[in-house]
Structures are given as structure tokens and as C-alpha cells.
Symmetry: C2
Subunit: 298 residues, 2 copies
């Protein structure tokens, strides 16, 4: 069943507006209007971004038969964590980037020390949003404990933080294609898997439903990062909103496998992602269409 | 009622051993023995430190008629957060310190990027320990939500992170004595207040008991920081375990008020701390004795 592209784009826009309104509301609640940290935090979280992760959560909730509001605070939390990971990636001690989403990076605007401290503030804010969302949804203490465990595991050494460490490590230079994809799973896939895990827990998905969403998210995450390498090699600043070729000194999937082989691998992962949610039938159209969009861009 | 010093010291040692064993156990649980991040994390959290905050929690729990085990995971969490705050303080973008607890600072040993990432790993680990402790103690979802809110507030802009930002800000140079003490409350007092709040919530203290412990912690925290300024001016490296006079470029309480006036203010805050727990009678001897120790060191 092929849904027209304009329907996909329309749904994306609607979800994005909902997410951005909720993000602004959640950040305003913790930042008095006269706070000097309002602008840096707004810049980190609210200045653009595709909102892929929270939009995925809203559409996954819908797929599980729940209103999007069921996961909206947690969806904001994931977007906040994603913003934190970008701000950290850009730091002088990491990628030392100067441009992000077409703007000077946060540490250039507000100073490195403030940015590091704000990254902790935002990360804790995100944790709390997830806890509050769980309580508001009537989850039991044991379920809340499980949600907290998932959050720590998927952001930890076997997830986002471990992926970033691998990315920075000297060892990266001699990564095999498989090690590179494992690193991409941790760096990008783990947070997408977290969107699937949280949505499943908040919406009380069945075990097969949760498994389908997790597999979808894992393959989408690896695909996303391979696509990023391809764009970094072929893309332009105005498309990326950040410095292209900034991985020039780094080993990448495209350098390791060659552009054409990376494009094939991208399509394989996108195909596996599509297959993972085939069990939902045509109701999974938005998730399927997203894979097609990612494949078509290259 | 005057308890002899040796009893205080003996209790301190016993509690400290219990805390360090629990810290090692909690960190081991998340770090496989062959992990390259085991050593940096052990160094950050397990290499010395007085363990003031977790020991306070164990003794406060005892004062509330509960076994120390009731708060042991959360006590570890607070010590982990304290370690994180020290590691961040030492970063090149902040105090640019080279020695901590008699050892080279973490970023010199393991690189700034790794240390920033590990600080996030540890902070989330601490959050999870507090959530798991709350669930294990039979707290309701609403109580867990309240605990999470306290955690975010007392570590946020009006607490630890806000205090560190004020400390770094240019504005500090023109702080009044009152503004300096407010900053000290946020930088050090807020985490001590969090020990009181968490212990009260985990042990189901009455409202007056909670208030007494919170007041004690607030005054102890400000006193602690004024004492730190005094030691920085008069102390030696072997006492501090860090570079003395590293606040040479900064406005401090002693510079603002004069050494003798700072010593008076220290004693006032310690006296208020003692008064706050007078309602517990002689059972509060450990908390009272701690104030006397802090006063006697100067």
C-alpha cells in the first residue's frame, strides 16, 4: 500500500508542531523568563532539528492504538537527550565543530563550561520527564524501575555514550565494517531503540509488538548513520546544516566500504527495518514511508 | 551530651567502609571487569574522598529509626553525583585543576572527552540508583515522582549546576557577602539538602523531622564552603588533597569578609545547623559532633 509522499510530509509537519510546542512548554516550566540560561537552552533544543525521534514515538504510539499524548513528555525527553548528544559531539574536546543547524555551535555562543553544565541540566530534565510520564500513565513502581533501567542501559556504555566513546577512540581507525556498524548502532541506533522501548512500555505493547518496533528502530539507526557518512562525502553544508567533510580525518563507512557498497548496505538496513514492522500491516505506513524517504535521498 | 571524639571517628570509619563497599558493588554491576572504562570510573568515584554526604544519609536514616540499608543505594548515588561535580569542576573549561585527592585530575589521566562522557554515564547511574532504591523501599508512583522532582530541582539551576555556573560567572567578582553565601548554598548546600530530602522521603520522615534535617543540611553546606575558602587561604596541599590558592583569581568569602569575619560566619552557620537538629535530642549526637569537628578545624 503506497501512501502519497504529501500525506507523509503533512503528518510529519503536524507531529513536529506538536512536539515543538510541548518542548517549549516543558522547557519554560523549568526556566523562569528572566533566566540567563533560557536562550542557550532554547538554542540547544529548539533551534531546528528534524524531530525524527519524538515524531517516531508519536507514530509508534498511534500504531499501538494509543493517543499520541500518551508518550508526548517522553518524546520530548528523547529529543532533549538527542540535543544534548549533539551539543557534546560539537565540543572542542570532541568534534570541535563550529556550525550546527546552520548556527554557531553552542560552546562558541555560551562558553564551554556553561554548555557542559547545561548538558547535565538537560539530561536530568529528560530523565525526570520520562519518570513523570510513566507515573502519569499509571505505571507500577516495578514498571517505572524497568523504564529507568532501560534508559540507563541504552544511554550507557552499550548505548549512546559508549558509541560516542568508540567514535572518538583511536581504535576506530582500524575498525572492520562490522565494528563500524556496531559503533553506529550504539551511537545512533540505541537512542532510536530507546524510543521503541519507551513507547512500548508507556503504551503497554505486547511482547511481539515491542520486538517489532525495537528491530525497526535498530536497523533505522544504523541506516541513518551510514546515510550520514554518505551525505558527509557527497553533501553540501546547506543540506547538512553542519560542516561537511568534518569526518575527513576519521574512518567512515564510505571510506571503509566504498560509496556504492555503503549505499547498498544502507538499503539493506532500510529493507530490514521495513520488514520488522510488516506484522502491523498497512497501519505501519508512516514507519515504512520513512524508510523509503531515507533510501530515496541518496 | 558530649560524645567522645573517638566514638565519632569510629562510627565514621564504619559507615565509610559500608559506603565504599556498596559503591564498588554498584559500579561493578554496570562495568564488566574487562571494560576500559572501569579504571577511570573507579578513579573518579573510589579514590579517596571523605564520603561526608553518604555517611550523613546513613546517620540521618538511623536518626529516623530506620536501618542504614534503607538509604544505602541512594547514599551511593549522592556520592557519585558529588564525584561527578568534582570531575566537572576540575575540567580545563572550569577550574583547570591538575591535582585532586592527591592524584592527577581525571581529564589529565583519561582525556577530556572521555571524562565529560563518563560524567554523564555516572550521573544517569546515580539517578537510576535513586529510582531503584525508592521502588525497593515500597514507595508509591506518586512518591517516586516527587523524589525525581526533588532530585532535578536540587541539582538544577537553583541547586548544584546553578551554583557552579554562578561560581564561574564574571558577576562573581562583584558578589556581596549575601550573594556569595547564596552561591555557596547552591554549590554545596543543595546537594546536602538533597541528602536530607531523599533520606526523609525514603524513610518516610514526618514533616517536622524532614524540615529539621533540611535546615541542618543547608547550614552545614554553607559552612562547609566558607571553611573551604578559609582552608584555601591558610591550608596546605597535603591537607586539602588539591592545589591550594587555586581560588587566587576568584572572589572568595575570606577576601570579601576578611579571615576573622569568615571564621565567625562559619561558626554561626554551624551553630544554626546544631540548633536545627536539637529537636531530636541526644540521638542527633553524630550530626552535632560533625558541626563541632568542622568548627574545631579552624
Amino acid at each position: 500500500m503506497n501512501h502519497p509522499l504529501h500525506l507523509f510530509q503533512k503528518e510529519w509537519t503536524v507531529c513536529r508542531q506538536e512536539v515543538e510546542a510541548a518542548l517549549a512548554e516543558n522547557l519554560t516550566a523549568v526556566l523562569p523568563p528572566n533566566s540567563p540560561f533560557r536562550q542557550p537552552i532554547y538554542d540547544c533544543v529548539l533551534s531546528g532539528g528534524k524531530r525524527l525521534r519524538p515524531i517516531l514515538m508519536l507514530k509508534m504510539a498511534e500504531l499501538l492504538g494509543q493517543p499520541q499524548q500518551t508518550v508526548l513528555p517522553a518524546a520530548c525527553a528523547i529529543e532533549i537527550l538527542h540535543s544534548v548528544s549533539l551539543v557534546l559531539d560539537d565540543l572542542p574536546a570532541m568534534d570541535n565543530a563550529t556550525v550546527r543547524r546552520g548556527q554557531p555551535t553552542a560552546h562558541l555562543m555560551y562558553g564551554e563550561a556553561n554548555v557542559i553544565l547545561l548538558s547535565h541540566l538537560l539530561a536530568f530534565q529528560a530523565y525526570d520527564l520520562i519518570v513523570q510520564n510513566s507515573v502519569a500513565n499509571g505505571r507500577s513502581p516495578q514498571q517505572i524501575a524497568q523504564i529507568s533501567t532501560s534508559l540507563v542501559q541504552l544511554t550507557g556504555l552499550h548505548g549512546v555514550i559508549g558509541g560516542q566513546m568508540d567514535d572518538l577512540a583511536e581504535a576506530r581507525r582500524s575498525f572492520s565494517k562490522q565494528e563500524m556498524e556496531e559503533m553506529y548502532y550504539k551511537k545512533t541506533g540505541a537512542l532510536l531503540v530507546l524510543t521503541a522501548v519507551l513507547t512500548s512500555q508507556l503504551c503497554q505493547a505486547t511482547a511481539p509488538e515491542a520486538k517489532a518496533l525495537v528491530n525497526y528502530a535498530r536497523h533505522l539507526g544504523i541506516a541513518y548513520q551510514i546515510r550520514d557518512d554518505i551525505l558527509d562525502e557527497t553533501g553540501e553544508l546547506h543540506e547538512l546544516g553542519k560542516n561537511p567533510h568534518q569526518d575527513a580525518q576519521k574512518q567512515t563507512h564510505t571510506k571503509l566500504a566504498g560509496l556504492s557498497s555503503s549505499q547498498t548496505r544502507l538499503k539493506q538496513h532500510l529493507h530490514k527495518a521495513e520488514q520488522s514492522v510488516a506484522c502491523f500491516g498497512p497501519r505501519a505506513w508512516f514507519l515504512t514511508c520513512l524508510c523509503q524517504q531515507y533510501g530515496a535521498l541518496n
